[in-house]
């Protein structure tokens, strides 16, 4: 007597799954979903995207080995100039609270000039930052810099990010200026 009940339940589940797939397909093809960056996601979507991103980066960066010489002046100088050229437009610089890019992107890019409350271990933070800079994040505005920047150059940027929240606008200006003598560096 239990078998027919079980079968009917399975049937219900299959039907529900088919209905969900059909409804999802209909929503995609209808064009009703708003894709404008100025249309905010729901809190549930933000949670889902953030959790997906954090878990994925966590897992993917787990095996990366952090160089021991990350806190050196040479790395700060090389990474600073690259940060200013490639990242500051979205992730800001000391003395600047907003930019055209940061305002227009959704989700908003993190302000890397600020020390975050939930600061994690330096080592794991460095691993994750390296992975994100190298591989980027899909559909977020964060590009992958790996295809045209070698690992050392990306580690230089990670080194600079570590010290960025402590820098004054004057220190930032000195460290990130690419002088004529730096032109041959890369």
């Amino acid at each position: 007597m239990a078998a027919p009940g079980f079968l009917s339940c399975t049937k219900c589940l299959v039907l529900a799954l088919v209905f969900a797939i059909a409804a999802g397909g209909a929503l995609i093809y209808s064009g009703l979903y708003p894709v404008g960056a100025d249309d905010r996601h729901t809190p549930l979507t933000y949670w889902a995207l953030e959790t997906l991103r954090e878990r994925s980066v966590d897992r993917a960066s787990d095996e990366i080995e952090v160089p021991a010489d990350l806190d050196t002046s040479d790395r700060l100088l090389a990474g600073g100039a690259d940060y200013n050229d490639m990242c500051a437009g979205c992730h800001l610089k000391p003395g600047k609270a907003q930019s055209d890019f940061a305002l227009g992107l959704n989700p908003q890019p993190p302000n890397l000039t600020q020390q975050h409350q939930d600061e994690e271990a330096l080592e794991s933070q460095a691993r994750k930052r390296f992975w994100v800079i190298k591989h980027g994040i899909k559909a977020s505005g964060m590009p992958a810099w790996g295809p045209n920047h070698d690992d050392e150059r990306i580690w230089d940027m990670v080194a600079f990010l570590r010290r960025l929240p402590e820098l004054s606008p004057e220190q930032y200006q000195i460290l990130t200026t690419r002088g004529a003598d730096d032109a041959n560096h890369h």
Partner: protein, 96 residues
């Protein structure tokens, strides 16, 4: 009358282009030509600096080149200035 739509077609994109240019800070596009502002470093109290700090070391490295260069430039200009002062009477004598 027939030129009116054509006028709109040309002025509207021009207006939009002008507005989009105003939306960005022009200074942001000039950063490639920027020089490090090392005058701040010169005024700092060097005894209070932590020379073991990589940030300070990086600033010193960056500014050393520029400070040396500006010192050399000022010495050179002073030298040229004194030379031209020395030359001035000679020139005036020569003219006579």
């Amino acid at each position: 009358m027939t030129h009116k739509p054509l006028l709109w077609l040309t002025t509207l994109p021009a207006l939009l282009l002008a507005l989009s240019v105003q939306a960005h800070e022009p200074s942001e596009h000039m950063e490639g030509d920027e020089k490090p502002n090392c005058s701040e470093m010169k005024e700092m109290d060097h005894s209070e600096m932590d020379m073991d700090d990589p940030v300070m070391q990086a600033m010193m490295k960056k500014c050393k080149h520029h400070m040396d260069k500006s010192d050399a430039d000022s010495k050179e200009s002073q030298h040229k200035h004194s030379e031209s002062d020395d030359d001035a009477p000679r020139k005036s004598n020569h003219d006579h």
